[in-house]
């Protein structure tokens, strides 16, 4: 996303492949066969819509998310008096199209969420496995570290990072990862403790496997299910964290649109231009809710099978 | 499967309990009939998956909700069909007329309550007496199951006790309501051999004192020989042989019973190769029309595959379901 000034907004005459938004998720979710009981189709649908938006942002967004057209500022959404189909969801104080910013904002959220989950989850996974497998002094030391991480005020720390390291994607991902790793480590350590009692771990030792090999080939594949569930359950946390940090000014600097930043932008005008804050707010809520419902369902499906094995 | 001669306290007729899964119907208990007389010990023997534990749970009406259901049959306790009772009525019956002890003493006792509390809870449900009264009864109950220093044990938690002692506490709770029928589902499988002997002798003593009937579920023929008056052998959801213990041991008539007895390592005799049964038990979702043991039976004939064998009498109150007995 580069900063670009343009002369005037493009008219919506140019065809936008809106069908992508419906078709791609539709195919993905329904192509698996007849609908099965209990599967949370609506959350899955919403999630895939948002992922599609993020992936195909340049194709879908009618305008540039950062172009300012001051004469078109604060236009309400089309269904409100004063709005038009030219700007479907209205514009903000700088005349930027809310819909386009929403679509590009999904992209930022997705990138941040993925990076933070990989980094934070990955670190938590490694620490959890090492602590659980070795036990003793190593376990004690690492778990005290985890305790410390829990008691630390994460948001404050994130703000501190933003101030010292400067705002940006890297700082944001680092801050959010620090929030996540501890809970991953703690839960996964518990899993590893239980796993260690299973005979095949002792037998692997008897067959000559080194500790590293056991952790990689025996422990890791068996905690993967739990790890996946943790990832899904934490997506909501990450998105809200990103939104909060952006809202507080510690996230990605403007003019790059993020949903949190968009909510912050509309802060001063809730009364007369409610759509500027509310629409991104609704988007955040919908995504987090869908992800949580999906995560709950995934956990119910994967965990009982874990026990059975 | 004899009819009620003498005083029958529990009669099970054609009991069927199925699991309704998405993949199909699992016919775990598929037409089980037996009767239990007052004061007798009936053994229910079979390997894992034969349906013996589920039979017990069906009789107690303690099936896991949602998955399994008793679809047919009658369970007559003192002549009345308890399958038609309401949940409230069953709550009264359980513990008072019919009681059950399970295999794992770890999970039978609540780890956060003292042994005394759990006993008192069982006792006061029936007597509704004062706390001190229930306390005294609890100590007595522990003494009765040969637990030494019961006044101290009352205040202990389950984890402070050994497996054998826990199982005795479980027994004390089970008989506190003076039931007429006790169902024991593999109560000694998790215990050491010497502890098992102690426990079986205790059960026998209690049974003789109270006159209660016991349905003893086990996979161990040694336990059957030691404890039971009669024995029923189960395979793939049905009873294939039933009769007085000495008769079944002396002349096992169903090929499965014969094979089972032959494949157990003995303390005497040759230590050469053990007899083994080829193959696997049938899938309970996909049961054959004929005899369920036929695919593994060394004596199988055509008629065995075509129709399920009828029940044939091979001795006094001794029956077995095998076509080869038709000639006799």
């Amino acid at each position: 996303m580069s900063i670009r000034e343009s002369a005037s907004p493009e008219p919506i005459a140019a065809p936008r492949p809106w069908w992508l938004v419906a078709a791609v998720p539709g195919v993905l979710t329904f192509a698996r066969g007849p609908a099965r009981r209990g599967v949370p189709w609506i959350p899955i649908f919403i999630i895939t819509v948002m992922v599609t938006m993020a992936l195909f942002a340049p194709l879908l967004a009618p305008y540039s998310p950062i172009d300012q057209t001051l004469r078109d500022k604060l236009i309400p959404p089309f269904w409100v008096e004063g709005g038009s189909m030219q700007y479907i969801l209205g514009t903000d104080a700088f005349g930027r199209d809310i819909l386009s910013r929403l679509i590009y904002g999904a992209r930022v959220s997705l990138i941040v969420a993925t990076l933070a989950l990989v980094a934070g989850g990955g670190v938590g996974l490694m620490i959890g496995i090492v602590a659980g497998y070795f036990g003793g002094v190593i376990d004690n030391a690492l778990m005290r570290l985890v305790d410390a991480a829990f008691t630390f005020p994460a948001i404050l720390f994130a703000l501190l990072l933003a101030v010292t390291m400067g705002q940006g994607l890297g700082t944001l991902v680092l801050a959010i990862s620090l929030l996540l790793w501890a809970s991953f480590a703690r839960v996964l350590r518990g899993e590893v403790l239980a796993l260690k009692q299973r005979d095949f771990v002792a037998l692997a030792k008897v067959r000559g496997c080194s500790s590293l090999r056991i952790m990689l080939t025996h422990i890791f594949p068996n905690v993967l299910n739990t790890f996946m569930v943790l990832v899904t359950l934490n997506i909501g946390v990450v998105i809200i964290a990103e939104a909060s940090l952006s809202f507080l000014g510690a996230g990605i600097p403007p003019p790059t649109p993020t949903w949190g930043l968009m909510v912050s932008d509309g802060r001063g005008r809730i009364a007369e231009a409610w759509w500027v804050s509310l629409i991104p707010g609704i988007a955040i809520t919908l995504l987090v809710l869908s992800v949580n419902l999906f995560g709950d369902w995934l956990r119910d499906r994967l965990d009982p099978r874990l026990r059975q094995l | 499967m004899s009819d009620a001669t003498g005083d029958t306290v529990l009669e099970v007729r054609d009991l069927k309990t199925y699991f309704f899964l998405r993949r199909g119907i699992v016919k775990a208990v598929d037409g089980v009939s037996f009767s239990l007389r007052r004061g007798e010990v009936l053994g229910l023997v079979g390997e894992s998956g034969c349906g013996k534990s589920l039979t017990a749970l069906s009789v107690m009406r303690l099936l896991p909700k949602g998955a399994a259901r008793t679809v047919d049959g009658q369970v007559l306790l003192d002549g009345e069909d308890i399958l038609t009772r309401t949940p409230n009525e069953m709550r009264e019956i359980r513990g008072r007329k019919i009681s059950m002890i399970l295999q794992d003493p770890q999970t039978s006792l609540n780890p956060v309550f003292t042994v005394g509390d759990q006993l008192r809870e069982a006792i006061s449900r029936r007597t509704r007496g004062r706390k001190s009264e229930a306390m005294r009864e609890a100590v007595e109950a522990l003494r009765r199951v040969d637990i030494s220093a019961p006044e101290q044990r009352i205040g202990q938690f389950p984890h402070q006790m050994s497996g054998g002692m826990k199982q005795r506490v479980v027994g004390a709770i089970a008989i506190s309501g003076h039931p007429e029928v006790l169902i024991a589902d593999e109560p000694t499988t998790a215990l050491d051999v010497t502890i098992q002997l102690q426990y079986l002798k205790l059960l026998q003593r209690l049974q003789q004192e109270t006159g209660m009937a016991i349905l003893f579920i086990t996979h161990d023929f040694g336990v059957v020989a030691r404890m039971c008056d009669r024995v029923a052998v189960m395979y793939a959801g049905r009873i294939v042989e039933c009769g007085p213990v000495a008769q079944v041991f002396d002349s096992p008539s169903h090929p499965y019973t014969q094979a089972l007895i032959a494949s157990v390592p003995k303390m005497t005799g040759s230590t050469e190769r053990l007899y083994t049964i080829e193959g696997q038990p049938p899938s309970l979702m996909d049961l054959p029309v004929g005899c369920r043991f036929a695919p593994r039976c060394p004596h199988a004939e055509r008629r065995c595959v075509e129709a399920y064998p009828a029940s044939f009498t091979v001795g006094a109150e001794h029956t077995a379901d095998c076509w080869r007995l038709a000639a006799r």
Binding site: G208, P221 | G164, K201, F221, L274
Partner: protein, 345 residues
């Protein structure tokens, strides 16, 4: 049974020699400044030998120390005192190549078929594990060996790509056995290999174990609580109680002439195969004492039906009461000469 004679096989060093083995676990209280309150004497001065191709049965009830002994032999734990020698070489304190060689020679099959296999690995990969770790050969060679092992335990070659959950309990134990045989070990520790299996499957597994022993001349250390199983499989039997061996001898001789009161009680607790055959039953009084605080003198004296005045004072030594047959009981120390046991050297 291979080489089950009592006399005339003592050629050189035995395959396995266990000398005065002790394993004490400290029992502590407190988190920061843990105070050692005492020790759980799980294994307390155990000695025995095992020749190549033989089976030694280790019998006892829970808490007797047989599982701990097997863990020590498998090098999963370090002994507190004493030593274990495999083909004359001490097995503890090894590292690197020496340890790898040891691991190849001593393998195990455990009790629980549902816990012995990694659910996320194909059984072919599990069986090949000891070969992969030692770099035994390339993929093709290892694959061939896996196929051969599968057939040896009565399964099919094409099943190597399947996962554990597709197999029954009995089949899983066979897979575990195949995995143990992969590195051509000289000794396999069998820790209750059949007790979790159904009665009719046990027979299959026991036959298979004996067949494999006849084919490969592997030695077994069979840990079991079921006397009939031990009778069928073991050449020699050692009975353990609270960390000590109380009786030892060639299986048949021991079974015919049970000497130690605990062994007698154990035998008596084996339920009769027929309702009419009611033997004299010895029911032990009381509970098994805690290994934290074992009774003084003879550890069995608190429950022994034949306890004498001497028993709480003096611990009876393990002495030979008949050629090759040892027992630790004062009932026999009066009669027998205190000679050093011939087999236990």
């Amino acid at each position: 049974m291979s080489g089950g004679e009592l006399n005339g096989r003592q050629q050189g060093e035995p395959l396995l020699r266990v000398e005065r083995l002790r394993k004490y676990y400290p029992f502590t209280r407190g988190i920061l400044f843990a105070k050692t309150l005492g020790h759980v004497k799980a294994v307390d001065d155990v000695s025995f030998t095992l020749q190549a191709g033989e089976t030694l049965g280790l019998v006892g009830e829970s808490g007797c120390g047989k599982t701990t002994t097997s863990k020590l032999i498998l090098n999963l734990e370090e002994p507190t005192e004493g030593r274990i020698l495999l083909e004359g070489q001490p097995i503890h304190g090894l590292s690197g190549d020496a340890l790898r060689r040891y691991r190849a020679q001593v393998q195990a099959v455990f009790q629980d078929p549902w816990s012995s296999l990694n659910p996320r690995m194909t059984i072919g990969r599990t069986i090949a594990e000891s070969l992969i770790v030692t770099g035994w050969g390339d993929r093709a060679t290892i694959g061939d060996r896996v196929s051969q092992l599968l057939e040896q335990v009565g399964l099919r070659r094409d099943q190597s790509t399947q996962y554990p959950h597709e197999f029954s309990g009995g089949q899983r134990q066979r897979i575990a056995l195949a995995a143990a045989l992969a590195s051509e070990p000289h000794l396999i520790v069998l820790d209750e290999p059949v007790s979790a299996l159904d009665v009719s499957i046990r027979a299959q597994m026991m036959n298979l174990l004996k067949d494999i022993q006849a084919q490969t001349h592997v030695a077994y250390l069979l840990v079991a609580h079921d006397l009939a199983t031990v009778r069928h499989m073991a050449d020699y039997t050692a009975v353990m109680y609270l960390g000590k061996i109380v009786e030892y001898g060639p299986t048949q001789a021991l079974f015919d002439n049970v000497a130690h009161p605990y062994t007698k009680a154990l035998f008596s607790a084996v339920l009769p195969p027929h309702p009419d055959r009611r033997e004299e039953e010895i029911v032990l009084a009381g509970e098994v004492p805690s290994p934290l605080n074992p009774p003084s003198g003879c550890r069995f004296h608190t429950r022994c039906p034949f306890v004498m005045e001497r028993c709480p004072r003096e611990e009876p030594p393990l002495i030979e009461i008949r050629p090759g047959h040892l027992a630790a009981c004062h009932l026999h120390t009066e009669a027998a000469p205190a000679s050093t046991p011939s087999r236990m050297h």
